[in-house]
């Protein structure tokens, strides 16, 4: 079927772009390059993929087609057969329908952002490969292929965080991200191995697995669920594996927008949703996931209120929003979580790209304390970012309102009130830190800052995404507002639904909105006309601005003992014992051969003596034995 072949082309075009770019990058000198050709190659792959993704999503939405494409059999054992197969159902196509289009917008933005960078070709090679692996992750028809994509986006994230590799701190940040992700990947890998061990015989694709979950004992089912969630924790930056995400902002801003906000970090949410039939069978693990999500959201929001790095604020905000998604997934509603993923990718990409534009305009200044009064100088950017900020704060009618409010409603109606209150408080904090961010940058003290003009190529993608930020929320209009939750219906996952009266629903919305408006008002009072900077005296603010000292604790708890152990192993075991042993073996042979080489000393007399000695021994034999 032609349309199933299209799945292959979604993967193929970005990969082809990456390959052609790398070949050209190798063989054509920088001065001889045609800028248009390189620009075209950089964005062509992902644009084609975006068009195909949207077409397939439309087909699926209207005709409910599921697409499958088997490329080849990867592994064929007696007990386990793994196909290199792609599958696109509603869930995958939903992911594709924002990954590739948002990706395209960010690619265009990156063209402008990376124009003056000397290794922009390398950047786009990585970016295209990232899109390839992300699509592979989303399209994988079995956990193994998904894991391939999962690792691929991990390595691309590593390479892009460390993109400016001449700065040592960037390399450290990249290593941190990579190593923490390894811990998560260990969990994920163990989980899919256990799945293969228990039900691999009955087929290893997602459909085959979902029919066989009931065969696993409850204990192992819980174990697998927790291990899979550990994988999601690493990728989606939840407690305790979140510390890499703020440091990952060392990469170029388009990377932060695409990988560390819109797509890769949501892979964890996607994975849990992909295993939704498994997770819906283990409610205790679900509650655990919800609490992890809740505390991650709260912690990140608290830290974000005291952070001054423009990109780190957004990084913590991303982590906080991911916390919301896990709350929803943990308590059983996957489609709300995915809808939040969907809307979040639009407004967070807008915010990041806006932040990137500001950073470029201010000559690589990232501290919001040194910004201010930018509203008049970049009005277009201000309105775009305002839309995104209102959206992330969940103000009607922006998209964040629809997705976040659905989650809040679900949390409340599921009866886990602690989680609900944490979510409510986090929502308050979200609005507070987002408007702190806006006021700090665009208003605050009246100072004159020199601003470089922002190119049109940069503004257009931001504008497009901010426009979508306004409208995509209506895809999942709740019943209360006259909609029918089409998005959730389309996905048709194992959602748990609670039905509450409209009165409760309205009152929840009102409470939430009142809190948010209060937060915005507080932020306005505090930061609109900021004359002096915030004082850092109190213990709490010190604690917050140092991110709860988590990095330090991790450092003392894990890194230093491991370092000591490695030093011990290096000095005592390796150099002291193994090296010595091997050296003494080698030198021993040399010593022994030196002993023997005395016989080959070139002395004629000795040679004669030895040959004479042979004759002599024969004579002694005759004398003693024969006579």
């Amino acid at each position: 079927m032609l349309q199933s072949n299209l799945l292959f082309y979604i993967l193929f075009w970005p990969l082809l772009s990456a390959i052609i770019l790398s070949v050209l990058n190798l063989f054509i000198k920088k001065e001889l390059r045609s800028q248009i050709l390189f620009d075209f190659l950089s964005v062509a792959g992902v644009s084609f993929s975006a068009v195909i993704s949207l077409y397939l999503a439309y087909q699926n939405y209207v005709f409910s087609f599921d697409f499958g494409y088997n490329i080849y059999t990867f592994l064929d054992l007696e007990s386990l057969k793994i196909d290199f197969a792609l599958k696109a159902d509603a869930l995958s196509l939903m992911m594709l329908s924002f990954v590739n289009p948002v990706g395209t917008a960010i690619f265009f933005y990156a063209l402008a952002y990376m124009r003056d960078d000397r290794s922009s070709a390398r950047f786009f090679i990585y970016f295209n490969l990232f899109i390839f692996f992300m699509n592979l992750l989303v399209l994988g028809a079995n956990p193994f292929i998904m894991f391939l994509g999962w690792e691929g986006v991990g390595i691309m994230s590593y390479l892009l965080i460390g993109f400016y590799y001449d700065d040592f701190s960037n390399i450290k940040a990249a290593n941190k991200a990579f190593i923490l992700n390894r811990i998560g990947d260990f969990g994920f890998l163990s989980g899919i191995f256990l799945l293969a061990v228990f039900i691999g015989v009955d087929g290893y694709s997602f459909e085959a697995l979902s029919e066989s979950y009931y065969k696993i004992e409850p204990f192992y089912l819980n174990l697998i669920a927790i291990l899979l969630f550990v994988g999601a924790m690493g990728k989606s930056a939840q407690i305790p594996l979140y510390v890499w995400l703020p440091d990952a902002m060392a990469g170029p801003t388009p990377v932060s927008a695409l990988i560390h906000a819109a797509t890769m970090v949501t892979a964890g949410v996607y994975m849990v949703a992909r295993f939704s039939d498994l997770f819906s069978m283990v409610e205790e693990v679900g509650v655990f996931i919800a609490y992890i999500g809740a505390f991650s959201a709260l912690l990140a929001a608290l830290i974000a209120t005291k952070t001054y790095d423009i990109k780190k604020i957004l990084a913590y905000s991303t982590m906080s929003q991911l916390g919301y998604m896990f709350m929803a997934e943990g308590l059983g509603n996957y489609s709300y979580a995915l809808f939040h993923v969907f809307t979040h990718s639009f407004f967070k990409a807008t915010l990041f790209m806006g932040a990137g534009a500001i950073i470029l305009a201010l000559h690589h200044e990232q501290d919001i304390r040194k910004m201010g009064n930018l509203k008049d100088k970049m009005p277009a950017l201000f309105y775009m970012m305002l839309v995104a900020a209102l959206s992330i704060s969940a103000i009607f009618p922006f998209s964040g309102f629809f997705s976040k409010d659905a989650i809040m409603l679900h949390l409340f109606s599921s009866g886990h009130y602690l989680i609900y209150f944490i979510a409510l408080f986090t929502s308050f904090l979200t609005a507070f830190y987002m408007f702190r961010f806006i006021f700090y940058i665009f208003f605050s003290h009246k100072r004159d800052i020199e601003v470089k003009a922002t190119s049109k190529l940069m503004l257009i993608p931001i504008g497009v995404l901010s426009f979508f930020t306004i409208i995509v929320g209506f895809l999942n209009t709740p019943e209360l507002l006259g909609g029918d939750e089409r998005f959730s219906l389309w996905l048709s996952l194992f959602d748990q639904r609670y039905f509450v009266s409209h009165l409760v629903e309205i009152s929840l919305i009102v409470i939430n909105t009142v809190f948010i408006l209060l937060a915005i008002f507080l932020a306005y009072l505090r930061f609109y006309k900021l004359i002096r900077l915030e004082d850092e005296a109190s213990t709490l603010s010190k604690l917050l601005s140092n991110a709860f000292y988590v990095d330090k604790i991790y450092n003392n708890l894990f890194t230093k003992p491991l370092h000591k152990l490695s030093c011990f192993a290096d000095e005592k075991c390796d150099i002291g014992f193994i090296d010595k042993l091997i050296n003494s073996l080698a030198f021993g042979y040399i010593k022994i051969s030196k002993k023997f080489s005395v016989t080959q000393n070139g002395s004629l007399n000795l040679y004669m003596l030895v040959s004479l000695g042979g004759v002599s021994l024969m004579m002694i034999y005759i004398l003693v034995v024969l006579l």
């Binding site: 004759v615 002599s616 005759i622």
Partner: protein, 166 residues
């Protein structure tokens, strides 16, 4: 009885001079004691009544070969400091004697064991008889030796010629 006495004197002389020959440090001493040894051997040929070998020994060995050796020693004008440095000469010789001893012992033991009872008395071998023997039965080897001598002549000239500067 007299011939026995002469044999013993000659044999003692031969062995002592040979020993001196292999053990002296200077080459010229060694060459001169070899001259004595060669003359003693000529005397032993005389006691065997082999007149042709007696003459040959004196003319070729003592006269030609040894004078050539002495000529070379003089020609090279070897100084004491150019002599080989042999700090362990005594030790080496004793060691070698120990190694050679079993061979000598076995050979002498076999000679003692052998029975030579059907011996003739010593007979005089005249030069004429030797000449006849040589030209009747051993013509080919005799002629081949002339070729050998020619080759060694050419070879020694080639070897001793000064090498051209490359």
């Amino acid at each position: 009885m007299l011939s026995n006495m002469i044999f013993i004197i000659l044999a003692t002389n031969l062995l002592i001079s040979s020993f001196v020959m292999i053990s002296t440090k200077r080459v010229i001493d060694s060459a001169l004691s070899m001259l004595i040894a060669l003359l003693s051997i000529a005397g032993i040929y005389a006691t065997l009544q082999s007149s042709f070998m007696f003459i040959t020994q004196i003319i070729i060995y003592a006269g030609a070969i040894l004078s050539l050796v002495i000529f070379i020693i003089m020609f090279l004008n070897i100084k004491d400091k150019n002599l080989p440095h042999e700090p362990h000469k005594t030790r080496d010789m004793i060691l070698t004697s120990l190694v050679v001893f079993p061979i000598t012992a076995v050979l002498i033991y076999f000679i003692k064991l052998s029975d030579f009872s059907n011996l003739n008395e010593k007979t005089t071998s005249s030069i004429g008889k030797v000449g006849l023997e040589l030209y009747q039965n051993y013509v080919l080897p005799f002629e081949l030796i002339s070729i050998l001598l020619l080759i060694s002549l050419v070879g020694s000239i080639t070897l001793a010629r000064k090498e051209k500067d490359v």
